[in-house]
Amino acid sequence: MSKPRIKITGGRLLDPHNRLDAELDLCIAEGRIAAIGDTDDDFSSDVEIDASGLCIIPGLIDLCARLREPGLEFKASIDSECRAAAAGGITTLCCPPDTNPVIDTPAVIELIHHRARQVGAARVVGLGALTHNLDGVHLSEMAALQQAGCIGVSNARTPLASTLIERRAFEYAATFGLTVYLHADDAALSANGCLHEGRVSTRLGLPGIPEAAETVAVARDLALIQQTGVRAHFGRLTTERAVRMVARAQFDGVPVSADAAIPYLYLSELDAADFGGDYHFMPPLRTPEDRDGLLQGLRNATLSAICSDHQPHEADAKLAPFPATQPGASGLDSLLPLTLKLAQDAHLPLADAIARLTCGPAQILNLPYGELGIGRAADICIFDPGALWRLDSATMHSQGKNTPFRGWEMPGKVRYTLRDGLIIYSGD
């Protein structure tokens, strides 16, 4: 066999899906988990990893990461970002379809899969475009995209031209059991805005994006989800009200899930008060009350995943007056530590925090990862929970160094990352 037999000993194994939290050994053979706990003493391993003092968790699944390839390789590449993901303990990345060209033909998703396999670090899954070239008007060939491996469809951050097109797109996706990934934004309400409409946008004289840009879209989308029965996922909700609307829909049995992205869990409009381009996000950072609403949504599992919303940029993209900067932050390096910090700060029990990065997103994507069951693919992250480090350009693995968390102290350092039983990252 080309894949090594690996034994991981002495670590604290945390697997929220299987409700495990104990010091357990773990054996890997043929890329899969062969044994947990009472491991066979005569399991002959090629590699033994001493995980004493370390935590062993399922490899992380990032629901939204832009790899910038094809089309924007001056920002980042599949090579650079899949390696950065591995260094961050991430074993599966889901990339939205707004590449250039757009993921609206099998050729583009096949190219992305091929490049990711060549790199051999994190695994990449992709969302197909909901409409041709994301034009918001013409449905894409969703069946062909699904056959080529797209695990869902999305129109990324581009609006659909009408509610009728949205309805047809949902119906067509539902035909093939495809999940629709939604960016909740009413384009007319958010037009030209670059900051949450509130005290800070008023002081800075920046065009604001009202809360209603999100809640109006969620209300409309929920109505069409109910009408069509499509399975849908709201990515990166930012307002407390939208979270409550989704919670209500879930209670009513609507097949809908939602996530939050790391920046919105730590930052608010107040952080942009100094025109710092690193705080330019789309959707925008909201109020501290909204941030609390998101944390509440994570606690009660309305939001079943946390993603990085990784958007690596070249330095020039942020070197401009605030409205002219490009939105988004590079987030692969800080996904695990800033999720662990949520537990540290008592916002979320540790097992729930890890669940939001593992079995939570796995369930949304309907993928057999994010847990450490016997026979499952050996996707594993081993980290030192006691290690503290500082995030800066030198410690970041992503090609994009744009982050609002520069200089922050990060808890938890990844020591090993395994994907399909292969060690794709080891560091100290």
Partner: protein, 326 residues
Amino acid sequence: MSRANLQITDEGKLRHFLSTEGLTHALLSEILDTAESFAGVTEQSVKKVPLLRGRTIVNLFFEASTRTRTTFELAAKRLSADVLNINVEASATVKGETLLDTLRNLEAMHVDMFVVRHCDSGTAHFIARHVQPHVSVINAGDGGHAHPTQAMLDMFTIRREKGADFGRLRVAIVGDIAHSRVARSQIHALNLLNTGEVRVIAPRTLLPAHVESLGVKVYHDLRDGLRDVDVVIMLRLQNERMKGAMLPSEHEYFQLYGLTEEKLSMASPDVTVMHPGPINRGVEMDSQVADGPRSVILQQVTYGIAVRMAVMSMAMQQRPSLETHV
């Protein structure tokens, strides 16, 4: 906060002039006092002082402007500085050069001060953060954020009309507060000068979210809002606001918010009427009011030169390497 630190030296002096927000009562008073001393210069037959001889000031305008640019140019010339007018809209950035490239190129020509106007809020702050330490930046208007020299010439006008005690004054600002950088800078300046009461008067579509958080009382009815005020500042209504869904028509706007002699009778008898210009007669105000005895609109323009001379000379005196350049 770093907003303030960016504009002020460690000794509390003016280094850049980006926004009235974050400055101090003392600094605003110093600007007004200095402007008072220059007001005499502009009335002399030889209208020049040699304070900035040998300095190069660049008017870097990314947005069209006649009045503001002209008064900055006159102010610089009366301080004996060399002035360069650059209309960037028509040149470099169109070709893909970034703002920072433009800046570096101009800096390489040994410029001492940038006077900047740009359609994006935050541009002057951005430039101030990236210029070499000996270069000063004056904000001549950035998006909807700030237009501090306009606000200071308005404060100067009020002080000349009403005296230095702002505490007993009620000031009302009428019109498109939401999109007005002038209004924001005026509100901060009025509050820093301890104005008794600052009011804004407008329909909801022309008020920004949480406008009261700027330190103003909100009125939707012009007559109510004008009651007993000592100063009325009318804002210019951009034509494009009419075309969107902000307002139904010029006619209705004038009916409700246009300043007429009749509505003005609600105010204090010696009320002063101001407008940053240019006026839309018959939209924001009646010609009778604009040209009437209470209007100081033309004085505002004249004072603009003295105030800009004051700000330029103050900022230039704080340059760390001033001596080596002489």
